[in-house]
């Protein structure tokens, strides 16, 4: 029976596939459905996950167009990385570069439950890797790094290709400066309250250290503002939103510093 293919933005009715434990008529019917669906849509491979079935079953066509039924398949050997430009029925009309293995060995069970092995290379190997990803509940987006994943989301949401060299990175060096500022603020806060546990002489010294610390933190916030602006200027496509973000972040941290200074004034 021909089944509907699940396509974005439709959410698969299942979240992942489970190992096949029973090799019976239900399994054979599922395999027939996969083949019928492949024929209807002219596909080289299909995972049960793609038609909403919760079992670890894949059907692929080899180079001679023979159907191979892979049940509970595992890739246990791989060699040589390649970058492939892939598309998938879940995201029609989207192509993405993915790093895969060029040569693989697959262990699987046939419809009788007998253990079998399969060597695959190049396109055939990539096809099997993609289908096994579906078996484990994921489409090719799982193979993308965070930046590429964000780009894919943009493309799906807005229908535009934002995969350009000068797109905003997701991580900036300025974030490290921010991290240091936050750590210094946290240490200063703890130091203010440590007043209750130390001697009067030590409080005088602590107060001096805290004042110096406040100068250091305010200098670092100023440094952050200029550095962040300079760093962001290298990415012209996202500069407008960055300026607001940088100014907002700097003001927010100044507010935290002022609150801390006020607290110190009343406590120490």
């Amino acid at each position: 029976m021909i089944k509907d293919l699940i396509q974005y933005p439709q959410t698969p009715p299942i979240e992942f596939n489970a190992p096949v434990r029973f090799f019976n008529e239900d399994l054979f019917n599922l395999i027939d459905d996969l083949k019928d669906t492949m024929k209807e849509h002219n596909l080289n491979g299909l995972s049960a996950f793609q038609i909403g079935n919760p079992h670890s079953v894949i059907v692929v066509k080899d180079k001679d167009n023979n159907y191979i039924e892979l049940i509970n398949s595992r890739i246990f050997f791989k060699k040589e990385k390649i970058t492939t430009n892939e598309t998938t029925t879940y995201f029609p009309d989207i192509n993405i570069d993915i790093i895969r293995d060029r040569h693989i060995k697959v262990m699987y069970e046939d419809r009788e439950g007998s253990q079998k092995f399969l060597d695959a290379s190049d396109e055939f190997a990539v096809l099997i890797q993609r289908k096994i990803d579906y078996n484990f509940g994921a489409n090719f987006s799982i193979r993308l790094n965070d930046a590429k994943k964000e780009q894919l989301d943009m493309k799906l949401e807005h229908g535009i290709d934002v995969v350009i060299d000068n797109s905003c990175p997701t991580n900036f060096k300025r974030d490290k400066v921010l991290k240091v500022i936050n750590i210094l603020l946290a240490i200063s806060l703890i130091a203010v309250f440590s007043k209750y546990f130390i001697s009067d002489d030590a409080i005088v010294v602590l107060s001096e250290y805290l004042n110096n610390g406040f100068y250091l933190i305010s200098s670092m916030i100023i440094f952050y503002t200029f550095f962040a602006y300079w760093e962001g200027s290298k990415y012209t496509n996202c500069m407008s939103c960055q300026i607001g973000n940088i100014i907002g972040t700097a003001l927010f941290h100044f507010a935290k510093l002022i609150a801390l200074i006020t607290l110190k004034y009343f406590i120490i």
């Binding site: 299942i14 992942f16 596939n17 489970a18 246990f76 262990m107 484990f136 994921a138």
Partner: protein
């Protein structure tokens, strides 16, 4: 006055003994027989193995703790159990051999009313030629199974880092040293901690780091893998692990049975029966586990070891050992009370109980070599089982033979695991995962047998902090410091 003897002072044995002593008070005797003088928080050994903690940080002397708790303590290893006593006495007893310096080699018969076998595993290095002899680690690889092993591993790692600093390239091979190993999690933690330390030393480009394991897919962990909620999405542990390995530039070999280790070289068989070799400069391969080799005899002195213990040396309990093939496995096969079916006053806890079957899908190579992880019974499940067994025995002692036995089936128990992927207050990472239940229940949760509502995971700095805090919490708890009972297992 009844006497409870706990064989073994690891997580399960220590938990059983300390809770039993607390609940029974001074009206009954609790005795621990363990060959070690120190308690070791094993999950932190991986940090000793990279030089981030010392042996002293993860161990403490047992004697003063047991003295404080009113527990009798014998530094000895159990050799044989006589559950029917001997000629002239029906009182069951256990034969122990002392291991302390003062009494090394002396044997003694100790009578008991109740016995808990929590001996943990024998580290069966000898199962793989070259990996070691018997339970002794060999010269070609390192281990993090004990604090001493981990200290040695840290020393060897430092030598490799020094070589890389002087320009040499070093190959690291970490994983499991046999097709039937468990504890992939420890090796998983160690490989990422090594990678983290090497990167910290600024020589990551000089290191080729490779994972080798008996899992049929990365992220199996001996539990058949898991699907967990990560940031609201359900992600397979396979894809989660593959992403992490790719991100940290670590290659992997899976479905491998390491069948021989030589100087700088490991030979292994893959699931298709093909044989391969992998060279290394530094290797940590987890050995397979076996029972510690306890013998059992009836009143007439006949060997009844096969009645009490499974062929792998672990103690038989109330599990279904005739479950048959994979498709017939059920959650109900797993033990609930951990009581020995032949002798009702004997229990097993932690790794020492014989599981009914593995959890992962069974696999073997075309040559017939079994290559699949065996079930993990360490950490949280060990502690929970130990406490349930202590509860049961206390009730049997105080309420009589008809007392209800407490249950802690791994098929109804969740577990939390925090796997370190690098130590550092600001740059550490750890994968925190929960899984429910540990053993899949295919009838209750059709499909993968687990409840995804309670199976989730995250990786990041917060996970590392949790792992670090847990280190101090469990060291505190094990030393029976104030509030120890409030800290969960």
């Amino acid at each position: 006055m009844a006497r409870l003897i706990v064989l073994g002072g690891g997580v399960a044995g220590h938990t059983t003994a300390t809770f039993a002593a607390k609940w029974l008070g001074s009206s009954h005797e609790v005795m621990v027989v363990t060959p070690n003088a120190k308690w070791n928080w094993i999950p932190s050994n991986i940090w000793v193995g990279v030089g981030e903690l010392s042996k002293e940080d993860v161990t403490f002397d047992l004697a003063p703790v047991y003295s404080k708790a009113g527990i009798s303590y014998k530094q000895a290893k159990a050799v044989a159990i006589h559950p029917e006593g001997k000629d002239g006495s029906d009182k069951p007893y256990v034969v122990i051999e002392h291991t302390s310096k003062a009494k090394a080699g002396e044997t003694e018969e100790v009578e008991y009313d109740y016995l808990v076998n929590a001996t943990g595993p024998k580290l069966n290095f000898g199962a793989t030629p070259g990996l070691g002899v018997g339970s002794n680690l060999g010269e070609h690889t390192v281990s993090v199974c004990t604090a001493d092993h981990a200290e040695h591993a840290a020393h060897e790692l430092k030598i490799c880092i020094d070589k890389m600093k002087s320009g040499e390239t070093q190959k690291f091979l970490i994983g499991t040293g046999h097709g039937m190993c468990t504890c992939q999690g420890a090796a998983f933690e160690y490989i990422f901690n090594i990678e983290h330390e090497i990167a910290k030393a600024g020589v990551r480009d000089k290191a080729e780091i490779k994972w080798i394991s008996n899992e049929s897919f990365l992220g199996d962990f001996g539990m058949g893998g898991l699907h967990m909620k990560v940031g609201g999405y359900v992600v397979s542990s396979k894809l989660f692990a593959e992403s992490l390995y790719a991100e940290r530039d670590i290659e992997w070999i899976i479905g491998a049975h390491v069948n021989k280790v030589e100087s700088g070289k490991a030979s292994y068989e893959l699931l298709d029966g093909s044989m391969h070799e992998e060279e290394f400069d530094f290797s940590m391969l987890i050995p397979p586990f076996a029972g510690v080799g306890l013998k059992a005899y009836d009143k007439a002195g006949e060997d009844i070891t096969a009645t009490i213990f499974a062929p792998n040396g672990f103690m038989k309990v109330d599990a279904n050992y005739a479950a048959g093939t994979y498709e017939n496995w059920k959650a109900s096969d797993w033990p609930r009370t951990y009581q020995n079916p032949t002798y009702s006053n004997m229990f097993a806890a932690g790794i020492a109980f014989a599981p009914p079957h593995i959890i992962s899908k069974p696999m073997s190579s075309v040559n017939g070599t079994p290559i699949n992880p065996t079930p993990p019974r360490t950490g949280m499940p060990s502690g929970i089982i130990g406490k349930a067994v202590a509860h049961s025995i206390c009730d049997l002692i105080t309420k009589g033979d008809g007392a209800h036995l407490h249950e802690a089936s791994m098929a109804e128990m969740g577990a939390a695991c925090v796997a370190s992927a690098g130590k550092g207050i600001l740059d550490g990472t750890a994968a925190a995962m929960t899984v429910f239940p540990v053993v899949p229940d295919f009838e209750k949760y059709p499909g993968t047998g687990r409840d995804t509502e309670y199976t989730f995971g995250e990786i990041g700095l917060a996970g590392h902090w949790i792992k670090h805090i847990l280190h101090y919490l469990f060291m505190w708890k094990a030393q029976l410091k104030p509030g120890w009972t409030l800290i969960p297992e």
